[in-house]
Assembly symmetry: C2
Homo-oligomer: 224 residues x 2
């Protein structure tokens, strides 16, 4: 059963560490979970057998990543339930507010700012919800290439949708996932608007002073 895999605290810590979309080595994950490499090795093979993570050999390192954005989605869902019922394993330290404001959800922007961005895109008709998925409008394509230098050609992927709504556990509303979500986050980083927090395993995204202004200019709404 998948749930029992996620249920163990050590494994849950590892998975949480992988939620930022980066691949980590076995030793890094061991440290993240606070266990010895032997124990971690056992856990990692179980997670791999369960199809939750995927290894990639590189020299004498073994990098692990989540197999799929879907896995990240289910993990977010579980976190949402936990958050709602107040039974979170989370340390509500000083990092918490920053987490709620902006964080990495697998490979795209989540938190207050992520939700705000999707709202703005929707209100200005830059995206449209057709079928059950989100679609870029022509206006949206223009907007992206003009302001963020993202062409629609960059967004095609054989198995991953361009746009997708992803439920945000802290805001309990949707933010933008999919290829576009990833591409935009990537661009923010390139433009030095924002950077992932330096502390390893952290999901926090820090915006620079000017980055915040630019972001607000594009997607802002004074309040909230």
């Amino acid at each position: 059963m998948v749930a029992s895999l996620v249920g163990d605290p050590a494994r849950a810590n590892m998975l949480t560490a992988l939620m930022n979309g980066r691949a980590l080595t076995a030793s890094e994950l061991a440290q993240e979970a606070g266990i010895t490499p032997q124990t971690a090795s056992s856990h990692l093979s179980k997670l791999e057998a369960g199809g939750l993570i995927e290894p990639e050999k590189q020299g004498r390192h073994r990098y692990y990543r989540l197999t799929d954005p879907d896995v990240a989605g289910v993990l977010e869902g579980l976190a949402g339930l936990a958050a709602r019922t107040g039974h979170m394993r989370v340390r509500t330290g000083p990092k918490d507010p920053a987490l709620r404001r902006a964080r990495i959800c697998y490979d795209h922007l989540a938190g207050d700012l992520g939700v705000q961005m999707l709202d703005s895109l929707r209100e200005r008709r830059l995206i449209k919800q057709k079928k059950q998925e989100i679609e870029l409008t022509p206006d949206g394509q223009r907007f992206l290439s003009e302001h963020l230098q993202i062409s629609s050609g960059m967004l095609t992927h054989p198995r991953r949708p361009v746009c997708k709504a992803c439920l945000d556990w802290s805001e309990r509303r949707h933010h933008l996932a999919g290829m576009l979500g990833a591409a935009m986050m990537n661009r923010f980083t390139e433009l030095k608007w924002a950077a992932r927090d330096a502390t390893p395993g952290s999901r926090v995204v820090n915006f620079t002073r000017t980055g915040e202004k630019q972001f607000a200019a594009l997607f802002g709404n004074g309040k909230d």
Copy 2:
């Protein structure tokens, strides 16, 4: 952690039994999980503490139900992961094809037919996706009151959305959830188009001969 609650086989069986949306007594759940009432009692209090289920006293019985459609959603998500990686705890008996065709997902129709229904509603513009939720169009309201005697007044609920897309683990596409999904399933039952399978705990929905025809007339598309 929520996942560890779901991880235990006995508890997972109980939750699965509750996925059909009906409330079950503690003893029924004990039998469902194949354990004694004492053990079940312990599990149930843990699930309740974790906010996954909710009790309701009635005489000397204690009925339990899932607290929320969201809980059902996460459980479906986990089932989806398990199904995909082939690591399901499910007995792939003869019931499986029937399950994939039509089943109860908490309180609405899921499986092949559920997906087909949502597709049909969408194609005929009886629903529209505005914001991140589905909305009924005026045409849709007429359609419902005319063919299924469902008025929009029946669909308002303080905390539950009228329409919602729910990811189907067997089809990996969306079907219709929310108040409307529940109301429609309910109507199908009243009209004797379909009935829940008699075996206790089963999620299978059996359509009658005429029910299948009527359903196909409303939402059908020859193939698939």
